[in-house]
């Protein structure tokens, strides 16, 4: 159940960002941390990565690899949000889950919960509807 929920969250989060990468690039730019004008590069690729991760987790394809990448992304998001909070930025998080969602401690807690879900999925022995290839770290 956690697996399907996490996967669905990633799929949902990717939707608006795929439709409007320009807006997502501006959200990334508001963090004032990405160098060399790479906000657009991230805005073009990251939403598709979230979508593919989400689909992989839901449909049981390369679950461990997808969960590993998810965890890496979530840690990155926590670092970005934390630095925005510490620098006093009052900006939209660009998370894609809710319109106008601002950076804040609740977003950090939320991402930690998602990381927890990644860990549970990875450690789970029972894998419903997991398709080939099965993977191992």
């Amino acid at each position: 159940m956690i697996r399907f929920l996490l996967g669905a969250i990633f799929i949902y989060a990717s939707y608006d960002k795929i439709l409007d990468p320009a807006k997502f690039a501006r959200d990334i730019s508001n963090y004032h941390i990405i160098p060399f004008g790479l906000e657009n590069t991230i805005a073009i690729i990251l939403p598709w990565l979230e979508l593919i991760i989400g689909l992989g987790i839901v449909f049981g394809v390369c679950i461990d690899a997808n969960v590993f990448i998810s965890g890496g992304l979530l840690i990155s998001f926590i670092i970005l949000i934390l630095q925005a909070i510490l620098r006093g930025f009052d900006i939209e998080c660009g998370c894609g889950l809710k319109d106008g969602d601002m950076v804040g401690w609740s977003k950090i807690i939320e991402n930690f919960l998602f990381i927890g879900a990644c860990y549970i999925i990875h450690e789970s022995k029972a894998r419903m509807l997991e398709f080939y290839p099965k993977s191992s770290l």
């Binding site: 795929i18 730019s29 508001n30 906000e39 805005a43 990251l46 598709w48 461990d64 290839p133």
Partner: protein, 160 residues
């Protein structure tokens, strides 16, 4: 396929899909972001523009434009306006209503200025792009915003 290869394949597919979709869509964006053009002189600002544009201005140009009666739009949430705002500025948390107010006041082609709290705030630029979609052609973003206006000791207005 081992774990490392799976990670590489997932990343590779994401890049492929992202790049392809961006290439094929009408609203694709450049791979490297281009900062908005900065205008340093008031005389470089044309009052009417044929094509939609969003440009950045600093404090000196903002001061000059405000004293010339150019419309200012405050992009901060309305609760922040209790602390004051640039004289004559309008604000509305609902973008559609705000666009109607601006259109009624100055139409779609005349220049107006959007600002928010400070240099790091992205609300002014975000609002600029939203209003551009409503058909406004000549938008200036005052990056220093409310903070630089206050620090310069310039006049402010308060809600009654």
């Amino acid at each position: 396929m081992n774990f490392q290869k799976q990670v590489a394949v997932i990343l590779g597919i994401s890049i492929l899909f992202g790049a392809s979709f961006n290439l094929l869509r009408d609203t694709g964006i450049p791979w490297k972001s281009i900062p908005i053009e900065k205008v340093d002189e008031t005389k470089a600002i044309e009052d009417n523009f044929d094509e939609p544009s969003i440009r950045e201005i600093g404090l000196e140009v903002a001061k000059s434009l405000q004293s010339n009666g150019i419309l200012f739009v405050d992009a901060r949430a309305e609760e922040y306006l209790e602390d004051g705002y640039i004289p004559g500025a309008i604000a509305n948390d609902d973008t559609e209503t705000l666009s109607q107010q601006v259109a009624t006041l100055i139409g779609f082609d005349k220049v107006f200025v959007i600002y928010c709290s400070d240099d790091d705030c992205g609300s002014s630029e975000e609002l600029a792009y939203e209003l551009q979609e409503f058909g406004f052609n000549n938008i200036l973003v005052f990056k220093g915003g409310w903070k630089s206006w206050l620090e310069a000791g310039l006049g402010v207005e308060h809600r009654e």
